[in-house]
């Protein structure tokens, strides 16, 4: 289990999360739409990773649990990719 000695600094992670929220809000207000979208979703992905690795202790877990997090995401991307050509490009 997670060792008592070294444990991620939860407060620092929390500050990072809040900071990233503010960054994405700034991006959506100030920057052009197309650029802002990339920045906002990059921030969202970083926040998700921060929570998953530090708060969900994936940092200390074995491969099996990583697979359980990553494989469903791959599956969702397969579905998203197929839906794109049917609804976005109106084939």
């Amino acid at each position: 289990m997670t060792g008592d000695g070294h444990r991620p600094n939860y407060f620092l992670v929390w500050v990072w999360l809040l900071g990233l929220v503010i960054v994405s809000i700034m991006a959506s207000l100030l920057l052009r739409k197309s650029v802002a979208v990339y920045l906002i979703f990059a921030a969202a992905i970083v926040k998700a990773l921060l929570v998953a690795i530090n708060y969900m202790h994936l940092k200390y877990e074995r491969l099996l649990l990583y697979a359980l997090a990553i494989v469903p995401l791959l599956i969702v991307f397969v579905l998203l990719f197929a839906l794109f050509s049917d609804f976005v490009f109106h084939g």
Binding site: L64, V71, I75, V78, A82, L83, D86, F87, G91
Partner: protein
């Protein structure tokens, strides 16, 4: 209290009871459907007239019941719950109380579906696939609460099998007996956990889709209604993204049962244990990228059809490997034709036909003509019927001594097999030709179309064969209930098989094993050169000097 037991064996029997009850209801709907198709607008004996919307309800309920309330509970829940702990040497499932909750949520789902028959407007009648806008707006089918309850029943059934899946996977990953490595697991356990993984990773989008459909019907949202900006095709993608892995979720446990039974009655190791496992995993992964072969003509982008046509036809390769492995198992074996073996061979030979007709459907241009015709109906009955009924009967007959402590009667079993085999083929082989003649699915009265008149004699033949098929199930019902109380008392290992469940009592006590067994070898060491007898249980310690015989 037996009913609220958390013992995986009792829960397996509860699923079996519910599954067999629904099999009877499903069988009734198929009788009424076939009667209406053969003799349109006449009174079905024992029932009366069948109106067109009632016919649509019958067709919808036949599909829903057979797929979600007969095949899944019997193949996945009954055999999975009963066999996984016993076969991996565990005392019970990893989460016994979650297991009990899963059977009770399934019972609730059954109740909700049963209720949906009696609400005003009748049960759902938009097809078991429930395509919107037909299913998204009550005015199109005239069914309001029936379809809402249908959606709730399906959602509950998904929740129940998600809980079951969590149990199967955690138990197999964590509670294996010492020495039971992954490559010493019996093939049925491999098939059950592959099916569980397929189900758990594919059901999500359909749950989201069902939430959206329920909101469309109840909260006035317009996910699938084009006049409100919605997209009807969205549901088809979400449904079939789940639908195709789902048919493998049903088929793999059936395949696992046959792979378990064949070596026992051939007294020979299963041919190619590892190739079968790699093929199953490959087929499982491929099953996630084939779904749109249901939508070649649905208004989907034609450029998207080709990749799905290619993946659909390629998925025949892993299953061909498994079929060849099963045939190779029979080579130079010593085959005894007991009832389980008969049903197992029946499953194999019928699945071969089902698999081959899949190539016609998979090829996009041919599908232009045969999509939505009875050719497709014949195809999926050859695959699903073989897994659910033939493999299901094989499994029930084979593990009956372990489940209930008594043997089933052999002669009744053989009568039931030959009746089922003959009448099954009499029903579904001609159905291919009715399909090629162009007869569309889900039409209540084929006489309304001129080009279907020449097919009507075949339809009448199919209906009579279907009635005889249903009548042919009586020997099984008699055999099942008679053997429960009067069958010959079974000892621990009546078939002299190697897997761990046969070293537990018949039926096993609570907690399964006096002491947790230790596993020394693969489950298929039949006629092994190391010993004189022609079987070698997994948990028998190797003798100090393995007297190698000739």
């Amino acid at each position: 209290m037996k009913i609220f037991s958390t013992d995986h064996k009792t829960i397996a029997k509860q699923y079996l009871t519910l599954g067999l009850f629904w099999a009877i209801v499903g069988g009734l709907t198929s009788y009424l459907i076939r009667w209406q198709v053969a003799y349109p607008d006449t009174e079905a004996p024992g029932w009366g007239f069948i109106a067109p919307d009632f016919y649509n309800m019958l067709v919808t309920m036949h599909g829903t019941i057979m797929v979600f309330f007969v095949a899944m509970p019997i193949l996945l829940a009954t055999f999975g719950n009963f066999l996984i702990p016993l076969m991996i040497g565990a005392r019970d499932m990893a989460f016994p109380r979650l297991n009990r909750l899963s059977v009770w949520v399934f019972a609730l789902a059954s109740l909700v579906l049963l209720l949906s028959f009696f609400v005003p407007g009748g049960a759902a009648s938009a097809g078991w696939t429930g395509y919107p806008p037909l299913s998204a707006n009550a005015t199109y089918t005239g069914v309001n609460w029936g379809l809402n309850l249908w959606l709730v029943a399906l959602a509950l059934e998904f929740v129940s099998f998600l809980m079951g899946g969590i149990n199967f996977l955690t138990t197999t990953i964590n509670l294996r007996a010492p020495g039971m490595t992954f490559f010493r697991l019996p093939l049925i356990v491999w098939m059950q956990i592959t099916a569980a993984v397929l189900f758990m990773l594919s059901v999500g989008p359909l749950i989201a889709g069902a939430v959206m459909l329920l909101l469309d019907r109840v909260a006035g949202t317009t996910f699938y209604l084009p006049e409100g900006g919605g997209e009807p095709l969205l549901w088809q993608h979400l449904f079939w993204f789940f639908g195709h892995p789902e048919v493998y979720v049903i088929f793999l446990p059936g395949l696992g049962i046959v792979l378990e039974i064949m070596p026992v009655f051939s007294r020979k190791p299963i041919f190619g244990y590892r190739p079968i496992i790699y093929s199953t995993i490959a087929a499982g992964m491929l099953s996630f990228v084939v779904w749109a072969h249901h939508q070649f003509l649905s208004g989907m982008d034609p450029r998207l059809a080709m990749p799905f046509s290619i993946t659909t036809i390629l998925i025949s390769v892993p299953f061909a490997l498994i079929v060849f492995a099963m045939i190779a198992t029979l080579w130079r074996a010593s085959i005894s034709f007991s009832t389980p073996m008969l049903f197992a061979i029946g499953t194999l030979s019928i699945f071969i036909i089902g698999g081959l007709t899949g190539i016609f459907n998979g090829s996009a241009p041919v599908d232009i003509y045969i999509h939505g015709t009875y050719f497709v109906v014949a195809h999926f009955h050859f695959t699903l019927f073989s897994a659910t009924f033939f493999a299901g009967f094989a499994g029930i007959t084979y593990w009956f001594p372990k489940m209930f402590g008594r043997m089933m009667n052999e002669t009744l079993g053989k009568i039931h097999f030959w009746l089922t085999l003959i009448f099954f083929n009499a029903v579904f082989i001609p159905m291919h030709f009715v399909g090629l003649g162009g007869m569309m699915r889900r039409i209540a009265n084929p006489m309304q179309y001129e080009f279907l008149q020449p097919l009507q004699p075949t339809n009448v033949f199919i209906t009579l064969a279907a009635v005889l098929l249903i009548v042919g199930q009586i020997p099984f019902v008699v055999n099942f209930f008679w053997s429960l109380f009067r069958g010959r008392v079974a000892e621990r290992n009546p078939w002299q098989a190697n897997t761990l469940e046969w070293s537990a009592g018949s039926p096993p006590p609570h907690g399964n094993f006096e002491r947790v067994p230790v596993v020394y070898r693969s489950p298929y060491e039949y006629s092994s050169p190391e010993v004189v007898e022609d079987w070698l249980p997994q948990d028998r310690p190797p003798e100090p000097s393995t007297a190698a015989r000739q």
